[in-house]
């Protein structure tokens, strides 16, 4: 590359013990002119205290309505190599597992066609290839599909589903999160690549109530593993934790939200009927306790960030389902399809399913998709007497 970019402000962020994104951009900038202009424009932002990207435009690959986010510099004369700097979302393998071999192939593609910069990974879960020009999109796409990768979702579509590592490594996983995630992603390929919904739609799969992928906070459908039978318990191991210094009464029993545990100094008793499957005691004593054997998941619906009517957490739709085989997946898709049909029919533009449910009311919504109301769906029954009674004719 020709003369070096002066970046006194960003240079400061190369100091310190945490790995530096500035060093990453600089490394790429040594051989890539887009990365070099990105560095220059970012320094300008640090100088001006404002971003220098224009509103995205619609760009993409043939036949897809999403997967690429258009991005344009508002200083194209000064930084011509980022005047077009589009992001490519690549659907990650479930659980974010890779081999060195496949990573090198992905890097080679991105060396040929883009800035050489990535996010591993974006918030939704995709591998994000940061920055390229419109003319490179098709070849990037074709080379990706040639090694078995496809684009992720964007816009008013099914967004790339993601999950925790589940049964691949975690003893607490109550269903196979990676298998279900792969299956859902394949099942909804059309809805993922061709936006036709009122707004975005996210699936997130967590294997247990620890919810490592934050599905309850940011997924339209949150599938969270749980169980129905008794917690598996090894008394000797509980005693070992106690001997090793864990204060079982203070730190475990007194933190139990079901108030269903008793420790007499030698034996731990759990009244499983009142256990709310919060995971605390299991987290605290992983060698002594584990989820029961009758495992499955709770299906919750409707979480989202603030835009537009305010942030929401997902709420319970189906308290428990078994997810042991493809048949059980099909039953789930029937429910999801009923919901999606209703939402596509009745939802307003840019109205997430959670906001739709608040607008029409959970009771009406549940009725419309053919589910019975159950007490698990609410924290408490209503406390206001303004009831829209409907006397049956």
């Amino acid at each position: 590359m020709s003369e070096e970019v002066k970046t006194p402000k960003l240079d400061d962020l190369e100091k310190g013990p945490w790995p530096s994104f500035v060093s990453e951009i600089k490394t790429a900038a040594k051989t890539n002119k887009m990365a070099k202009d990105l560095l220059g424009q970012l320094e300008q932002s640090y100088e001006d205290k404002i971003g220098h990207w224009k509103h995205g435009g619609i760009v993409g690959v043939l036949g897809y309505g999403g997967g690429v986010i258009g991005r344009y510099s508002d200083l194209p004369d000064k930084f011509p190599n980022v005047s077009h700097f589009h992001t490519v979302r690549v659907n990650q393998p479930a659980g974010w597992y890779y081999t060195s071999d496949i990573l090198r192939k992905l890097c080679d593609i991105w060396e040929r066609h883009g800035s050489g910069l990535t996010n591993m990974h974006g918030s939704t879960g995709d591998m994000v290839l940061l920055g390229t020009t419109t003319d490179q999109l098709e070849s990037t796409f074709q080379e990706l599909t040639a090694i078995g990768f496809d684009l992720g979702g964007s816009g008013s579509a099914v967004r790339t589903p993601s999950c925790c590592c589940g049964q691949s490594r975690c003893e607490w996983a109550c269903y196979d999160t990676m298998k279900l995630t792969y299956d859902i992603t394949q099942h909804y390929q059309d809805e993922l690549h061709r936006p036709a919904f009122p707004y975005k739609w996210k699936f997130k799969m967590s294997g247990c109530p620890n919810d490592c992928v934050a599905s309850i906070a940011r997924a339209d459908i949150s599938i969270i593993g749980t169980w129905r039978d008794d917690i598996q318990l090894v008394q000797d191991e509980v005693r070992n934790y106690s001997k090793a210094g864990l204060d079982i009464n203070r730190d475990v029993v007194n933190n139990c939200p079901g108030k269903c545990m008793d420790w007499d100094g030698n034996n731990l008793a759990i009244e499983n009927e009142y256990c709310v499957k919060c995971m605390h005691c299991i987290n605290a004593m992983p060698k002594a306790l584990s989820p029961g054997k009758d495992r499955g998941a709770a299906i919750l619906i409707g979480s989202k960030a603030p835009i537009m009517q305010g942030a929401q957490l997902s709420s319970v739709l189906i308290p428990f389902v078994k997810l042991d085989d493809e048949e059980s997946y099909k039953d789930l898709y029937e429910v999801f399809d009923a919901i999606i049909d209703l939402w596509c029919e009745e939802g307003k533009s840019r109205e997430r399913i959670g906001e739709f449910i608040r607008r029409v009311g959970l009771a009406n919504f549940v009725e419309a998709i053919g589910l019975e109301p159950t007490p698990e769906m609410v924290g408490a029954p209503r406390d206001n007497p303004y009831i829209f009674y409907q006397i049956e004719k």
Partner: protein, 361 residues
């Protein structure tokens, strides 16, 4: 390339994950029995068959060059038979069966600037968004503030001396890519000035009914200025959410002088002990002060320090505040309580104090 690619392949979805799983995982899938944290950033999972899988977790800035990814690939070849994964909080993990390779792996990671940690009662990286690096909506940068905060909190990444887990998240605007609104500490970029309306461009770039409908508080009204159909914003109704900008480029909210960030505390997504909940406002506004945002770093450090000193075992930020009450939180952290702290949007009344459960000290 066009020569070699005959048929265009589409709709294949991601590759099947099984292709990338190490043999020890394939053999023990669904059979893991328990795990133990061996040292900061290192854990072992033990299966019913007594097989062991060692995981070494290293810090990552999320924004990675292909050069660095290739380095990770080389390290994986050297120590973990080429197998690695990334976590939901953007760290990188090496998956191995040979315990003796852990110390030299950690050394190699350190030598390329990636400390190992982030497991157990520790901070496990800050999930964050694009900021000035790559987004048009950003009210602040993301990567820079995160780097500055993690430099400060590095000891809480490389050790395990926190009362409980600490999840910090960063979003550069109210669109909140990622789940920042349910974090122990959330940093959120904010605008504070009315949209700057480009009346010349607006009629050409935006549909006025869509634009009006985009505003959560109905602050946007159609008007005619100099014979042009455009809009105006009712000042008293605007809360600077930038939803209008999302649908219309001619409603610019980015402002170099008045943008900045806010800090929210006490949220969580895990169901452990207490239910998942939103983070609540701690600090309404701090200025954009690049490159290191000292005010934001200091504020986060202070909140973490006070929590560390006062929380009980396992108590997450929000659980600790539940116990001591918000008045004490503001007192202990020495954060001034201001008008902005009191909610005035929908359902605001639910946040008023409706009891005399007051510590009075």
């Amino acid at each position: 390339m066009s020569e070699t690619v005959k048929k265009r392949i589409t709709d294949i979805g991601p590759p099947h994950y099984e292709k990338f799983l190490p043999p020890v995982i394939k053999a023990n899938y669904g059979k893991w029995k328990y795990h133990e944290i061996l040292q900061p950033g290192v854990m072992v999972h033990v299966s019913e068959t007594n097989a062991k899988l060692f995981t070494v977790r290293a810090a990552s800035p999320r924004l990675l060059s292909i050069d660095k990814i290739r380095k990770f690939a080389d390290i994986a070849d050297k120590f973990s038979d080429g197998f690695l994964r990334f976590t939901s909080r953007n760290n990188v993990e090496f998956l191995m069966t040979d315990e003796t390779k852990i110390p030299p792996l950690i050394e190699d990671l350190r030598s390329i600037g990636h400390p190992v940690g982030g497991i157990g009662p520790a901070i496990s990286n800050i999930v964050h968004t694009q900021g000035w690096v790559h987004c048009h909506s950003a009210a602040t940068d993301a990567s820079g503030v995160v780097k500055a905060i993690m430099d400060e909190l590095i000891d809480d990444f490389t050790s395990m001396s926190l009362p409980g887990k600490l999840r910090i998240a960063f979003a550069c605007c109210l669109n909140m890519c990622g789940a920042v609104h349910c974090s122990d500490i959330a940093l959120l970029g904010v605008h504070r000035k009315l949209p700057e309306i480009n009346h010349d461009m607006l009629p050409k770039t935006c549909e006025i009914p869509t634009l009006s409908a985009s505003c959560p508080t109905a602050a946007i009204r159609p008007v005619t200025i100099d014979g042009k159909q455009t809009v105006e914003v009712l000042e008293e109704k605007c809360m600077f959410c930038a939803n209008c900008f999302t649908v219309c480029p001619s409603m610019k909210l980015n402002n170099s002088e008045f943008d900045g960030l806010s800090i929210w505390v006490g949220g969580k997504v895990s169901n452990a002990r207490t239910e998942p909940r939103f983070s609540k406002l701690a600090i309404p506004y701090l200025p954009n002060n690049p490159p290191r945002w000292p005010e934001a770093v200091e504020a986060v450090k202070n909140i973490v320090d006070v929590w560390k000193k006062n929380a009980r075992n396992f108590e997450r930020m929000g659980e600790w505040i539940d116990r001591i009450g918000w008045p004490k939180f503001f007192k202990l952290t020495d954060i001034p309580f201001q008008k902005e702290h009191i909610d005035d949007f929908k359902h605001a009344g639910l946040t008023y104090k409706t009891s005399t459960h007051l510590t009075q000290s």
